[in-house]
């Protein structure tokens, strides 16, 4: 469990950007949404100890993040940064993915196993000898996930993993996230893309000006007046409403529910 209790955070001598957040999550897909500057990244950086609470507490499976280093916490919580290129520095995909487990001082054998497992999980098997910078945008994003996955964390934080990807690449990332969830990972998905929330999330947390204003299932979330929070209701949902269907997750579901009604 990730457990956040009454969390306040202020960057050096400035105002609070997180104000009394209470939150917990287990092995589920939680979408963390909110307008720019609402504090999503600041909150997520507390989960692997990159930031420490100014007030309140954050515990990961019972471990207080104040009492553990980022390296120690990285075994539990993997953080995939928004820009994958900010982490690549090795000459091959293999070495890049091996970097994390090496830092955890795993044996050669274990490292090799983990790399091939991580690459398989994101659909990059056969890429071992490629140079990370030579990959396409979508492949880079999946490599970034593999780099964190090879540390075998229980929880995975993905900061805007689909921004700037084309439809096909996005689909591969979505599939990857789903299969990770099915393999027992808890996933925190930071995103501005409401279509992605609709498609993938099991629960939504909405931040606004450093406060949590919604935390619950996906369906009622889309009943909130989202424009207030600079978020946009997916076209699919608007269409469904017009057609008298209250909630669907995908086009297929919509088609099924209309034709079911008609036929």
């Amino acid at each position: 469990m990730i457990e956040v209790r009454n969390l306040y955070h202020a960057y050096r001598g400035e105002n609070y950007v997180l104000k009394g957040i209470n939150f917990s999550m287990g092995k589920e897909i939680v979408a963390l949404v909110g307008p720019n500057g609402s504090g999503k990244t600041t909150l997520a950086k507390h989960f692997n100890g990159l930031l420490k609470p100014t007030k309140g507490s954050v515990k990961i499976d019972g471990l207080d993040t104040r009492e553990h280093t980022v390296a120690e916490l990285s075994r539990l919580v993997g953080y995939v940064f928004q820009n994958p290129e900010h982490m690549f520095f090795e000459e091959s995909v293999f070495k890049e993915v091996a970097f994390g487990p090496k830092n955890l001082e795993k044996s050669e054998d274990e490292i090799r196993k983990r790399v091939s497992w991580a690459l398989k999980s994101v659909g990059l098997e056969g890429y071992e000898e490629r140079a990370p910078y030579s990959l396409s945008g979508g492949e880079k994003q999946r490599l970034a996930i593999a780099c964190v996955l090879s540390m075998k964390p229980k929880y995975l934080i993905l900061d805007e993993p689909t921004t700037g990807l084309d439809a096909k690449a996005e689909k591969r990332v979505v599939e990857t996230i789903r299969s990770l969830k099915d393999n027992g990972h808890g996933i925190l998905l930071i995103t501005h893309d409401m279509n992605l929330v609709l498609e993938l999330a099991e629960r939504v947390v909405l931040l606004y000006k450093g406060e949590k204003v919604y935390d619950g299932p996906v369906e009622p979330f889309f009943d909130i007046a989202l424009e207030r929070y600079s978020l946009e209701t997916p076209e699919l949902l608007k269409l469904a409403k017009k057609l008298g269907v209250s909630f669907v997750r995908s086009t297929d579901e919509l088609i099924a529910s209309i034709s079911g009604g008609v036929l």
Binding site: Y11, L50, S74, G78, Y79, F81, F89, F99
Partner: protein
């Protein structure tokens, strides 16, 4: 977080013409380089702090905070001098003196940047007869420092999330470890530099020879007084130094 060094305020330094400030700080830099007696360099540092407080309305604490990034360099200087210079006590003294000079040079630059908007700084350089490219290069370079700082922080955070720890290991190990930060940093900065050059070209930078400015700057009485005062002080310092050998200890025997 620092985005640019400039801070809006209504101090005397803010109201000065950029040319007066450029002449003033250049004289200050020259004066600082003339002396190496730690007592003199120390007093110069204190004087600059006080001048910054009085004329620039920048609190002493804020000024000291700005100097913090220079601390590693300062420590390095203080430690290195006694190692290479004998007798050690004098080496140490020179180390301290050099460190004080370094801090004072940094401080003068910071004060200039904190009290002068970038636009005025470029204009000042141009009106003093330097090419526009010079002014622009300097100010883009300076403006890029905060961006680079944030980028470095971000990359370090990304690598720390992969179990990377800079603090571990001896100096050789640590140097090798830095490649995990230096390579992504290099790639990202080259990208930014490339984008910057495209942005400049697409605004027809370098197309025409004569440049016009939207807001013109004008020298007033206090600007002339500042320039004259700085040059007189520089003259006095030169005279003291070369006329009397004041404030200078011969390092090389």
């Amino acid at each position: 977080m620092i985005h640019t060094f400039y801070r809006e305020n209504d101090s005397f330094l803010h109201s000065l013409d950029p040319r007066a400030k450029i002449v003033g700080s250049t004289s200050a830099l020259a004066i600082i380089l003339l002396f190496n007696d730690p007592i003199i360099t120390g007093s110069l540092l204190v004087s600059v702090l006080i001048l910054g407080r009085l004329f620039g309305k920048i609190s002493i604490r804020e000024q000291l905070r700005l100097l913090k990034p220079l601390i590693p360099l300062v420590l390095f200087t203080i430690i290195l001098w006694p190692v290479i210079y004998k007798p050690r006590l004098e080496g140490f003294m020179f180390g301290v003196s050099f460190a004080l000079r370094l801090l004072t040079l940094g401080l003068v630059t910071f004060i200039l940047l904190m009290t002068t908007p970038q636009r005025e700084l470029i204009q000042g350089f141009v009106k003093l007869g330097l090419p526009y490219e010079f002014g622009l290069t300097i100010s883009i370079g300076l403006r890029y420092i905060p961006t680079l700082y944030i980028l470095t922080r971000n990359i370090m955070d990304a690598q720390r999330s992969r179990g990377w720890e800079m603090e571990k290991g001896n100096i050789v190990v640590r140097t090798r470890k830095m490649s995990a930060v230096m390579i992504p940093l290099l790639v990202a900065s080259l990208k930014t530099a490339h984008e910057l050059s495209i942005a400049l070209e697409s605004r027809a930078f370098g197309a025409g020879k004569r440049r016009t400015f939207l807001h013109d700057i004008k020298m007033g009485k206090k600007d002339y007084i500042t320039i004259v005062t700085s040059l007189v002080l520089l003259g006095v310092a030169l005279y003291l130094r070369y006329g009397f050998g004041f404030g200078h200890i011969n390092v090389y025997g």
